[in-house]
């Protein structure tokens, strides 16, 4: 019994180790000189981002055996203290967080920002992400979400540009105001059930009256809206464009890969306790699929490279939301086996998107820093420009190609497998058409973006450059102060590119691993998806033909958009920045749409 308790305590370490590492930096900042501070910051990064893997690996056999280590922090009685449950979902999301944050941190050590304040905030963010997935208490979820939010606001502002301050302020105001809606939902649930922990609330709701169930659904809506805003699902994604495009490159990668996904998977836990969770899940699924299409349409017309990538974050998160939302009703009982495979497909795409989008932000960031330019129509010959800045092997260009092929769902990269799984399991769903159209447009968008690496300056673009962006482009001649790409920058993009390849090749194994991890979510049910069942086959002629057809379709759309007429027609849309009114109008629309569902 004692040994079992000790092992359960390990579940706290992925949250505590990053916090401990942050405290170490604070102590070093107070008492040590600059050189020692720098060494302590490196040590803290290792403690906070690598050491948590040890308790996670120790807990993995128990989780795979269907157990979920639980503990109440501080030895308080159940229902009073903070209740932690480290199940397969928590393990999977913690793994995603630690993997992507480690890559982004290595990159930031080379490219900046990298001071003690940055690292402390970064580590607190990691801790809050880990805690959000393990907590089973609605108020603690609120606290974790707020800490995640506050660290994001500070990290975005670390770019120290006017744009980053405005982006951070916009995100702060929209997110903080909607989080109060979450608090009102908590108030309603507490008033109804007299409890804050998921199990007690679920128990109450399973035997409540129709009126009480309807009131609980209203509370659920109040809690869903802020989470959907954090996950940037349309129409609540207005804040994201500024935040992701103005943040430092490493933070853009983390915001896109981790900060959009953790709230979404925390929402799964929450929806599963409500009787109306399935209905609300379907609404989120529809919003996700529609958002996936609309966002990629907007991405196509962008001229700012990072804003284009930001729109793709909304689009790809829409894929994840479409699968996750559709998984809730089956998981609640109608077809747990289907719910489980949808959940696994959603997680794998979240993981895949985290890796390839992180890779795209970092590789495009390398080129933007060297070229001192963000306009995709003005950056030319990226590979040769990068060579002159220390990337003699063309590693950034190669890594970008891997990321672009992944997001465009080309075999054998990870995006092909993860999008393939979602398509297979949603093939009978009416949302499939929206996702298929979004896939074609994604190909078009990345053909357009790829020009920045492969094209060479033409006379017309050179003239345009001289007239429009004289000062920034002069610096691309690299005669004066051109940045040198450090080994940290190159190793992090190459590492992520290798993960994209490995993830694609090992997708069937990852799928089986996901089934084993998430099987424990089906409380009381025997394993519904035995290991003997093979994951769906992806390399079949029909699927490969469909994938091949997206290339010429994407090429035609890309040529149309990139033509002079296309650029002129889309110019007004590409520069649009969401106002506060637009963001809150989106919130109102989402509230009404969800209320209609119940």
């Amino acid at each position: 019994m004692d040994i079992k308790m000790d092992i359960s305590i390990l579940a706290l370490l992925p949250t505590l180790l990053p916090l401990f590492a942050g405290a170490l930096i604070l102590i070093a900042k107070a008492f040590l000189n600059e050189k020692a501070q720098d060494r302590t910051t490196e040590l803290a990064g290792i403690i906070g981002l690598l050491l948590p893997w040890i308790p996670m690996m120790l807990l993995l056999p128990r989780i795979l055996a269907g157990e979920s280590p639980t503990l109440v922090i501080g030895g308080w009685s159940y229902g009073t203290g903070i209740f932690f449950k480290f199940d397969g979902l928590a393990w999977a999301l913690n793994a995603l967080t630690l993997l992507l944050c480690a890559g982004a941190w290595v990159y930031s050590r080379s490219s900046g920002p990298r001071g003690p304040v940055f690292t402390i905030m970064f580590l607190i963010q990691v801790a809050s992400c880990c805690a959000a997935m393990s907590t089973l208490d609605v108020f603690n979820l609120f606290v974790c979400m707020e800490v995640m939010g506050m660290t994001s606001y500070v990290l975005i502002a670390q770019a120290k540009t006017p744009g980053s301050y405005v982006a951070s302020f916009t995100y702060l105001m929209s997110s903080a105001a909607t989080m109060l809606l979450f608090l009102i939902g908590v108030y309603g649930l507490y008033r109804l059930t007299g409890a804050l922990d998921y199990n007690a609330i679920q128990q109450f709701l399973s035997q409540c009256s129709v009126e009480e169930s309807r009131f609980a659904s209203l509370c659920a809506i109040c809690m869903i809206i802020p989470i959907v805003l954090r996950a940037a699902i349309m129409p609540l994604s207005g804040w994201l464009l500024l935040a992701h495009s103005q943040a430092p490159h490493s933070i853009s990668a983390v915001l896109s890969g981790v900060l959009l996904k953790v709230p979404l998977f925390a929402l799964v836990r929450l929806l599963l306790i409500f009787p109306s969770g399935g209905t609300l899940g379907l609404a989120i699924s529809f919003a996700g699929a529609l958002g996936a299409l609309l966002a990629v349409l907007l991405a196509l017309v962008q001229s700012d490279a990072k804003r284009l990538l930001a729109y793709h974050s909304i689009s790809q998160t829409g894929y994840v939301a479409a699968a996750l939302g559709a998984a809730i009703a089956p998981l609640q009982g109608s077809n747990p086996g289907l719910g489980l495979v949808l959940l696994v497909a959603a997680y794998l795409h979240a993981l895949g998107h985290g890796i390839f989008k992180g890779l795209l932000f970092l590789s495009v960031g390398n080129l933007m820093d060297v070229a001192k330019q963000r306009n995709v129509y003005l950056i030319q010959g990226g590979v040769s420009v990068l060579k002159r800045s220390g990337d003699s092997l063309g590693l950034t260009g190669f890594s970008f190609a891997v990321g672009a092929l992944s997001i465009a769902a080309m075999p054998p990269f990870i995006g092909f497998a993860t999008k393939g799984y979602i398509s297979k399991f949603l093939a009978e769903n009416h949302l499939y058409g929206l996702l298929a159209a979004a896939s074609v447009l994604t190909v078009a968008s990345f053909i357009k973006l790829s020009r920045i690496f492969v094209s060479f300056p033409s006379s017309s673009s050179a003239q345009k450059t001289e007239s429009n962006q004289e000062a920034p482009m002069r610096k691309t001649s690299l005669d004066d102060d051109h940045p040198h790409l450090g080994s940290g920058r190159l190793s992090s993009v190459v590492g992520l590119a290798l993960l994209c390849i490995a993830g694609g090749l090992l997708a069937p194994q990852l799928f089986r691993f996901g089934i084993l991890l998430f099987d424990s979510l089906l409380q009381g049910s025997p394993s519904l998806y035995p290991l003997s069942v093979r994951p769906p086959e992806l390399f079949v002629l029909n699927d490969l033909t469909q994938t091949a057809l997206t290339i010429p379709a994407g090429l035609i759309i890309s040529l149309l958009i990139s033509s002079k007429t296309g650029q002129r027609l889309t110019h007004g849309i590409s520069g649009h920045i969401a106002s506060f009114e637009t963001i809150f109008l989106g919130m109102g629309v989402a509230l009404i749409a969800l209320a209609i569902q119940i």
Binding site: E146, L183, F580
Partner: protein, 113 residues
């Protein structure tokens, strides 16, 4: 009921400040007002079940529900942090762009470089 209607009014006033006012300082004030309305809501709810302070001693009966009050201590701390951070950002934006109007600041920020 009157108290709850009053709090809904306070909430809407704060929300109007956040959404409709272009001045960033007034937006921060709006956020603080919304936070206060939600805190009041919790405290009033906790007080609806009793009147005495929740001090667990002999002879103390009819206490208010202490859980909402405990929760609100955390929420107030978070609210203060968010407000401080928002004000710091407003200072930085004003120093960089010379305006408190959020739309004007967004126009003047350029491309961030």
């Amino acid at each position: 009921m009157t108290a709850r209607i009053l709090m809904a009014g306070i909430f809407l006033v704060g929300m109007w400040g956040v959404v409709a006012d272009k001045n960033m300082m007034r937006k921060v004030f709006g956020l603080t007002i919304i936070t206060s309305a939600v805190v009041l809501l919790f405290v009033v709810e906790g007080g609806s079940v009793g009147t005495a302070a929740p001090i667990m001693e002999a002879g103390v009966y009819n206490i208010v529900d202490p859980v909402p009050q405990a929760l609100m201590l955390t929420a107030i701390v978070i609210g203060v942090c968010v407000t401080a951070l928002a004000l710091a950002l407003v200072c930085r934006i004003y120093a960089a762009t010379g305006t408190l109007d959020i739309e004007e600041a967004a126009k003047r920020m350029g491309d961030g470089h």
